[in-house]
């Protein structure tokens, strides 16, 4: 790359490891998985499926899928740099807290 990145945005656009591609693939795969996992969760019921790994997978996929979707929306609509950082960190923190609380709850069942 002949032109050196001067801003964070430019550096991110020149990065060779393609995180955006990875997230895009994750959204498709997790979306498809969630469809079946949620179907089983709702119709067969949480009592029949008392496998902890199942519940934690469902929770983690749903939270990651949801918060990445939220990241897309915030990236699109929030143009103010500092406000974007605040909102995105709040969203990530919320997802982390929910994941931790949910995992602890499942572990105690």
């Amino acid at each position: 790359m002949a032109i050196k990145a001067r801003k964070f945005e430019e550096a991110r656009r020149q990065a060779t490891f393609n995180l955006e591609l990875a997230w895009w693939v994750f959204m498709r795969v997790s979306g498809l998985l969630l469809l079946f996992l949620l179907w089983a969760h709702v119709y067969i019921g949480p009592r029949l499926i008392s496998i902890k790994a199942y519940d934690i997978t469902l929770l983690a996929l749903a939270l990651l899928h949801g918060s990445n979707g939220l990241r897309y929306v915030l990236d699109d609509y929030i143009h103010n740099g500092s406000l974007r950082v605040i909102l995105k960190s709040t969203a990530y923190l919320l997802a982390a807290v929910l994941l931790l609380a949910g995992a602890l709850f499942v572990a105690k069942l």
């Binding site: 790359m1 991110r12 656009r13 990065a15 393609n18 955006e20 591609l21 895009w24 699109d76 143009h79």
Partner: protein, 233 residues
């Protein structure tokens, strides 16, 4: 037939914000919307500003939002709109300079970013670089683009995201990515797979509906996504 023409007017030297103006015109069903705009500009109000050049759907200058849909004013007949009232606004997502004239700089900046030209460092053969009709057919649709910006300014992600390259730039990248003679894909993928690239596309299909050249824009964007995915994973 009597037609009511509702135009969104904006003069940066006088107005704080765009406003609507109404014109009553006598029109033929076979008149183009461009003819109506000419009638207003030449006979009623000479200050009306809009771009047009060829008038035959080739130059791509007169894209505007007509009755809520991005179209070329020169390719849209009054009878096809099936309405006695015709509303015309500038295409969205770009700064309005005056009336229907928008600043196309961001649009062409995205276009240049994908390097929409032939890249091949090898010494050219004695005669032309050969390509089979089948190889040529792969990118046939993307050669039809006239850079009118109707697709890009119909895209809801382009309206709100300041970094997204937009459908048109991706279509013009497709033109060279799938060209068997071209070797510049590594450079193009860099621009296309970053934060403002193809992953921002949410397949709203607005671009496909807006294209006056009937290019299946969304399908071409998906083909580029697939090419990048199989190239990088």
């Amino acid at each position: 037939m009597q037609i009511t023409l509702e135009l969104q007017r904006y003069n940066p030297e006088v107005d704080d914000a765009p406003h609507w103006e109404s014109f009553q015109l006598e029109a033929e069903p076979m008149d183009r919307v461009l003819d109506l705009l000419h009638k207003v500009k030449w006979e009623v109000d000479g200050t009306l500003a809009f771009r047009r050049s060829c008038g035959h759907g080739i130059c791509g200058s007169c894209a505007m939002m007509i009755n809520g849909v991005n179209r070329l004013a020169c390719k849209t007949l009054v009878q096809d709109l099936k309405s006695k009232t015709i509303t015309i606004e500038p295409i969205r997502g770009l700064p309005v300079e005056k009336d229907m004239v928008v600043d196309l700089d961001p649009f062409f900046k995205a276009y240049r970013e994908v390097k929409p030209y032939f890249i091949n460092e090898e010494t050219p053969p004695e005669r032309e670089r050969l390509q089979s009709p089948e190889e040529r057919a792969i990118f046939d649709d993307s050669t039809k683009c006239i850079l009118c910006a109707a697709c890009t300014t119909a895209c809801p992600v382009f309206w709100v995201n300041g970094f997204y390259l937009g459908p048109s730039a991706i279509v013009n990248a497709h033109r060279f990515i799938f060209d068997s003679r071209d070797q510049g894909n590594a450079e193009r993928y860099k621009a296309l797979s970053g934060g403002g690239g193809v992953w921002r596309c949410r397949t709203a299909y607005n671009c496909t509906e807006a294209c006056p050249r009937d290019i299946p824009v969304t399908q071409l964007i998906e083909e580029v996504k697939r090419a990048i995915m199989f190239n990088q994973m």
